[in-house]
C-alpha cells in the first residue's frame, strides 16, 4: 500500500461521505423538525436521477438535466408532503414507517411504469470527465473531485441557512418546540412543506450526480437510504453537524475497510479465503462502528435533543 494509493482511497471515502451527507442531511432535518421517519427519502434520490437522465436525453445537456432533476425531486417532495406526509405528523412512528414504506412501493412501480424496467443511460458531462493529477502525484477522477467540492459547498450553505437566516431560525425553533413556534404566529405547515422539499431536493441532487457515475435504475435509492440512516444514527438524529461528521466517518471507514481488511487477512490466510473473509467483514464494518459509537454515546455523536 503506497501513500498515493492511501490518499486516493481516503479521497474516495470522503467522496462517498459527501454523497451520504446530501441524503442524510435531508433525512435528519425532516426527523429533527417534524419528528417524522421518512423511508421514502430514497425515492426522491431515484426521482432526481431518473428525471436528470430523461431531461439530459431530451436536451443533450447534463446541467439542464441536473437542474431538472433537483427541481423535480423538490416538487415531488412538496406534493408528497402536502398529500400524505402532513397527515402523519401526529401519528406514531410505526404508522409513519408503514405509510412511507408504501410510498417506496408506489414510487418504484410508478417509475417502472413510466420509464420501463431497463436502466437508463446517463453519463458524466464531458467537461468533468477524465482525471486530474493532484499535488503529490495522486491521479483522481475529476467528477469525483467535483462531487467533494459540491458537498463542501452545500455543507457550508446549509450551515449558513440554519444559523444565519430567518428560515433557519424557524427551523431551529421548530426542532425545539413546535407548539410554541406555531403559537407565535409562524405558519408551521408552510415551514414543514419547505423543509421537506429542501430535503427532497438534496436527495434528488445526490441521485442526479451519483446517477451519472452508477446506474439509473428502479430501486437505486434503498441501499443508499440504509447507509443514510446509519449516518444519522451515528451523527445524532436531528443534527446537521452530526450528519456531516457521521457521513464522512462512514464513507472513509467503509472505503478503507474494503481496501485494507482483505490485505490484512492475506498476512495469515490463503489469498482466496482472505479476500472472501475480508470482504465479508468489510461489509459489516460500518455497522460495527455504529454499534461501538452507540455503546458510548447512545444518542449519537451530536444529538440535537440531549
Amino acid at each position: 500500500m503506497t501513500l498515493t494509493l492511501l490518499i486516493e482511497q481516503v479521497l474516495n471515502g470522503i467522496q462517498l461521505g459527501t454523497m451520504l451527507f446530501l441524503m442524510a442531511s435531508g433525512l435528519t432535518l425532516v426527523f429533527g423538525v417534524m419528528g417524522l421517519i421518512n423511508l421514502a427519502h430514497g425515492s426522491f434520490y431515484m426521482t432526481g436521477a431518473f428525471v436528470t437522465a430523461w431531461v439530459t436525453g431530451l436536451t443533450g445537456s447534463f446541467w439542464v438535466g441536473l437542474l431538472g432533476g433537483v427541481l423535480a425531486a423538490a416538487a415531488v417532495g412538496a406534493v408528497v408532503e402536502w398529500t400524505v406526509i402532513r397527515r402523519l405528523y401526529h401519528r406514531d412512528h410505526l404508522d409513519q414507517v408503514l405509510a412511507t414504506f408504501a410510498l417506496i412501493l408506489i414510487f418504484s412501480e410508478g417509475t417502472r411504469w413510466i420509464f420501463g424496467s431497463s436502466p437508463l443511460w446517463l453519463n458524466v458531462p464531458d467537461s468533468l470527465s477524465g482525471s486530474v493529477t493532484l499535488p503529490g502525484g495522486v491521479e483522481y477522477p475529476l467528477y469525483r473531485l467535483a462531487i467533494i467540492v459540491m458537498g463542501v459547498a452545500i455543507a457550508i450553505g446549509l450551515y449558513l441557512l440554519i444559523s444565519r437566516t430567518r428560515l433557519g431560525m424557524r427551523i431551529r425553533a421548530g426542532e425545539n418546540d413546535r407548539e410554541m413556534i406555531g403559537a407565535l404566529g409562524v405558519d408551521i405547515s408552510t415551514l414543514y412543506t419547505l423543509v421537506f422539499a429542501l430535503g427532497a431536493a438534496l436527495a434528488g441532487l445526490a441521485g442526479s450526480t451519483i446517477g451519472a457515475l452508477q446506474s439509473v435504475q428502479v430501486g437505486m435509492g434503498e441501499p443508499v437510504l440504509i447507509l443514510a440512516f446509519v449516518v444519522i444514527v451515528i451523527g445524532g438524529i436531528g443534527s446537521i453537524k452530526g450528519a456531516l461528521i457521521g457521513a464522512v466517518l462512514v464513507g472513509v471507514v467503509d472505503t478503507l475497510g474494503r481496501v485494507l481488511l482483505p490485505g490484512l487477512f492475506k498476512l495469515f490466510m490463503a489469498p482466496s479465503d482472505a479476500s472472501g473473509v475480508g470482504a465479508a467483514l468489510a461489509s459489516m464494518l460500518i455497522y460495527v462502528l455504529m454499534a461501538g459509537i452507540l455503546a458510548f454515546k447512545p444518542n449519537g455523536l451530536f444529538a440535537a435533543h440531549d
Binding site: L5, Q9, S117, R258, A279, A280, A282
Partner: protein, 379 residues
Amino acid sequence: MKKLLNASLAAVMASTLATAQADEVKIGMITTLSGGGSHLGVDVRDGFMLAMEQAGRDDIEVLVQDDARKPDVAKSLANEFIQREDVDILTGIIWSNLAMAVVPSAVRQGPFYISPNAGPSDLAGRLCHNKYFNVAWQNNNLHEAMGAYMKQADVKKPFILAPNYPAGTDALDGFKSRFQGELANEVYTQLGQTDYAAELAQIRASDADSVFFFLPGGMGIAFMKQYAGAGIDLPVYGPAFSFDEIILGAVGDAAVGVKNTSQWAYDLDNPTNNAFVASFREKYGRTPTLYASQGFDTANLILSALDVAHPDDEEAFQAALEAANFESTRGDFRFGPNHHPIQDIYVREVVDQGNGPTNQLVGVAVEDLQDSFVDQCSL
C-alpha cells in the same frame, strides 16, 4: 323443449371440450418480470412466446407469472401451477437461488422442468434429475470459457473481481479452473455495491495487465462507467451477463472494446438464428439478448419433444428431450448425460458502429464445452 335442447347442446360441447383438454399441454412459466434484473425475464418470455407463436399450435397453453425475483413467490407460484393448474412442464426461472428453491421439489411432484437460464452447480451434479433439463448453460460455463480464452490470448496477470455471494465465488472459481495462471489480485465486492472507487484505485495501483469481472445487472453498469472515468486503460474481459444489449444501452461508449464470452451472438451466422433475430426485431422492435435466444431455444426444444410424445408418457417425452432434435439458434446443440448442454462458447467484442454500442462475434473461446459437475450426476 328449446331449453332442453340448449342444455344438451351445452353438455355435448362441454364433453368435447373436456376431451380436447385431455390432450392439451399446459406449460407454466415462472420468471422475473418486475424489480431489478427484470429485463432478463422479459426477454426469456418474449423469445419463448415468439417460438410458440411461430409454431402456431392451439393445443398448447402457456401460463406466465412474475416471481419478482423472490424465492418464496417463485415457490408458491410453482405449487399453484402444479396443484391447481396441473401443468405438464415448468420453465422460466432466471435466478439460481430461485431455481434451487423450486426445481428439486417441483420435479419430484410430476412436471418436467426445462431451465431457460439458471444453471446452479448442484442441479448439474449432485441433485440432477431425469425430469430436469437446462437449455442455457451451467452457471460456470461462460467464466470457464473466458479463463481458457485469456490463457490462449497470452494474458499474464489479470485482476479478477466478483460479488461476494455463491454465483460470484463460482464465477471466479470457474475462471481460475481454466486460466490456471498468476493473478494480480482477487477481490470480492459487496452484493449490490454500486461504488467501485476503492477497487478501481487498487486496479490502477496493481501490476495487472487485464481485468476480468463478473458483476451482473446494475453493478456491472456502475463498474464499467466508473472504470472508463478512472483513466485505466487495461483490457477488460467478462461473461456476457454484463454486456447484453440492454446493459450496453445504459453503459454507453464506456463498454466499447470489452471482450465477453457467450454461448450465442445475434450475428452468429446460421439460418435459424438469422430468422430468429429478424423476427424478434420485427415483433418487439429491439435486438434480442442472449436471454431471448435461450427462451426461443427452450420453446423449440419443448415443441420438438411434443411432436414425438405427450409429457404424460414420461419416458418417451424424456427421450425426445434428450435427443434435442430441434434447430437451435446456436447451431449445433446436444445434451450431456446430466441434461446440460455441450456447446461451443464464443467470444464477442463490444463495438460501436454509429448507432450505439453492440456486440460483434470475434471467434470461438472453447469448442464443445461440458460442465465440470457431470461426474457428480448419477444419471
